[in-house]
Amino acid sequence: MALPISYHWRNLFVRKTTTLLTILVIGTVVGVFSWMIGFASALDRSLSVASERQKLIVLKRGATSESNSAIPVEDYNRLNQLTQIAHDPTTNEPLLSPEMMVQVSLPRIRDGGRTSGNVAVRGVTQTAFAVHLNVRLEGRRFSEAEPQVIVGRAAAKQFAGLQLGESISLGFGADRPFRIVGHFSANGAPIESEIWGYLPALMNAYNRSMYSSAWLRLSDGANPDEAIERIKGPAIQLEAQTEAVYWDAQSAAIRRYLLVAYILVTVMALAAVFSIANTMFAMVAGRTREIAMLRTIGYSGRQILAGFVIESVFLSMLGGIAGCLACAAWLELVGSTKDMFGATTFTTMAFDIRLTPGTAAAALLLVIAVGAMGAFVPAWRASRLGVVSALREP
């Protein structure tokens, strides 16, 4: 028979100060950890949504992103030769979307407008909605006759002045007001951080005669690699990538940032392991006679080892729950939005950091590992205690 769970639970409260201090150490580490996992998973979610293999982005040769790519209309027209493009079943139009990308600097909401971020403004035509299939409108689509735009959900949450009915100044001299008539979501894909308007209207406002990029959807059977080769070839002479490859390259800088954060948290988590070990050693040392007594009445060394590990996992779980709660409170009170530059887009990708059940589960898993590691050596020592000499101790 194993030691009763209630025995371990109640043991935690015999040394209130020590238990509390240990919980706080673990809670602090877990709080920071769950924030970071929340950020990393927001990034991953965003990128995994934007990873359709049948969707290609075409840029000018030498360009690294839509922001620094310029495709003259005659170059763009050569894309019509591509046989692998899918067609709209009703209108029979090719699913090839010319797009233009510019930036507008907008104040961040989270610091009250003290700093601004560069938000991507994308000029599109109706075809874009058939190519970017995950776009879901909340409200109206922009009109082609009037200066109107729609705003991605993440951008509206991160930057000021993007609510329905408000106007935003766009154009090379920022002198053309565009009214915001709708919001859109895209399952959390990076385009949720953008503002969309009618391509000819925006090209006119920015004095542009060239497109930035073309997005296209391949027909179901088409091989993306062949299409990419074809676009590179002498007939078209442009550069194409699948959507997944494109966004992955753009997020390289963000991943480096996360790497730094991971290093910091790992070191702190290790410190928590040592702190737990310390507490557990003290627990074992303070209960030498008690353990010897348990051995005398028939509990095996292995049961005692398991018992102490369980006790430590309890302790760390308490810390883990405290940490998750602290993280949730932080996100609620201080704010949960974060935005970062893509590697070369010169525009921000906005994230909404959420404490999802998955994140909490990851944090608690970490905590269980930390608790078990910290307790193993002290528990092992407890299980190997010489019964007779321990009973004799003062």
Binding site: V25, A63, S275
Partner: protein
């Protein structure tokens, strides 16, 4: 029986706990000293920038809207006698990368005549300036790319631009900048870029930003207002910012690393305070009877207090040393260059950062020891002696 003797005996009593505490203390301290070094590096860069008195003028809407290069003359005309401004240097974004790589360098084409004046902190010698003036392909690079690609002085290198018209240009390295804040920059002559563009029939001598070297902070402020007023309500309306304000636009967008480091430093202090406090409570509990014996044989309350407090401080300082020294050596031997995150690659631990860390450790040691020490001091001798451990 001296205080030192008692302290050493106490630490040796439970060597396992001492070791665990020191390690649990040392790991966060290692993070702390790196974080604080980074924050100090940024503070130094920011102070340097302020001393350099540079004013950046770019298009009001975004940096990617270019400005006509004739604007340089107009800016210079605002102060014809040169009382406030020393020189104006127009710059054009090139966004070059080494062929076959993905990493875009912060590469800019700069006015050849004024670059050495406006960027006097690049520390070009007279000889280097002469080479820069003589050779149209001359380029000045930060340490980052130089180390990454193994460039040496005099090397001929090629960069491919990532902005229209996506030209490939050849440069000769005439200077490698030895400053952390310019680690990832690459400058070359703007007339060279313009000529190359003319040759392919796409001339466009515009600039993304003009950097103005000012003579006084006062002059910088008045010029800032004057320039923006001069170009207001034209298609080329400007926004002028000093170098720190300009850099702040990018700090937030790159994830606010300084903010992250500050949070890390605060979290670390909280953790080590808890760890130290925990250990002291544990050792106090274990040693209740012993302290009672001390009191019984005539140790004064103050002395008992000092014994417990000194142990906490000693533990904290030992932990800090074990964390700080390997980090300092580690960062000196293996800098974080592969992260390619601006100044973070040039991070090293300064003696002041070590000093700050030790002071923090000392304070934490005192704070963590105060309560247990107080408990020990007011221990009721008779009760404690009677208590079974």
């Amino acid at each position: 029986m001296t205080l030192t003797y008692v302290l050493m005996q106490n630490l040796k009593r439970n060597p396992l706990r001492t070791a665990l505490t020191i390690v649990a203390f040392a790991l966060p301290m290692a993070v702390f000293v790196a974080a604080i070094s980074f924050v100090m590096l940024l503070a130094r860069i920011s102070a340097d920038n302020e001393r350099e008195l540079r004013l950046g003028v770019h298009h009001r809407i975004t940096l990617t809207n270019s400005l006509p290069d004739g604007m340089r003359r107009k800016i210079e005309a605002l102060d014809p006698k040169g009382e406030r401004l020393l020189a104006v240097c127009g710059m054009r974004w090139f966004g070059g990368r080494v062929p076959g790589t993905q990493n875009t360098l912060t590469s800019l084409a700069a006015d050849a005549d004024t670059f050495p004046i406006v960027y006097s902190d690049v520390d070009m010698t007279d000889e280097e300036i002469a080479t820069w003036n003589r050779d149209r392909t001359a380029a000045v690079t930060g340490k980052g790319p130089a180390e990454q690609y193994g460039w040496k002085l005099g090397d001929r290198i090629e960069l491919e631009s990532s902005v229209p018209p996506y030209m490939s240009l050849e440069f000769r390295i005439v200077k490698i900048i030895d400053r952390a804040e310019r680690a990832n920059f690459f400058y070359f002559r703007r007339d060279y870029l313009n000529e190359a563009r003319e040759r392919i029939g796409q001339p466009d001598p515009r600039c993304n930003i003009f950097w103005i070297k000012c003579k006084t902070a006062e002059g910088l402020r008045t010029l800032q207002a004057e320039i923006d007023a001069t170009f207001a309500n034209t298609p080329d309306a400007t926004k002028s910012e000093d170098e720190n304000a300009f850099a702040a636009n990018f700090t937030q967008a790159s994830g606010d690393i300084p903010g992250l480091m500050q949070v890390a430093a605060i979290v670390v202090v909280v953790i080590i305070a808890l760890v130290a406090g925990n250990t002291m409570m544990l050792s106090l509990r274990e040693r209740m009877r012993e302290l009672a014996v001390f009191k019984a044989i005539g140790f004064q309350r103050g002395r008992v207090f000092r014994i417990v407090l000194a142990e906490s401080v000693l533990l904290a300082l030992l932990g800090a040393l074990v964390g700080v020294i390997p980090t300092s050596i580690g960062l000196a031997l293996f800098p974080l260059k592969m992260l390619r995150m601006g100044p973070i690659g040039q991070l090293d631990v300064s003696p002041i950062a070590v000093l700050v860390s030790m002071v923090i450790a000392l304070l934490v040691g005192i704070a963590a020891g105060l309560w247990p020490a107080y408990q020990a001091q007011r221990l009721n001798t008779v009760d404690a002696l009677r208590r079974v451990a």
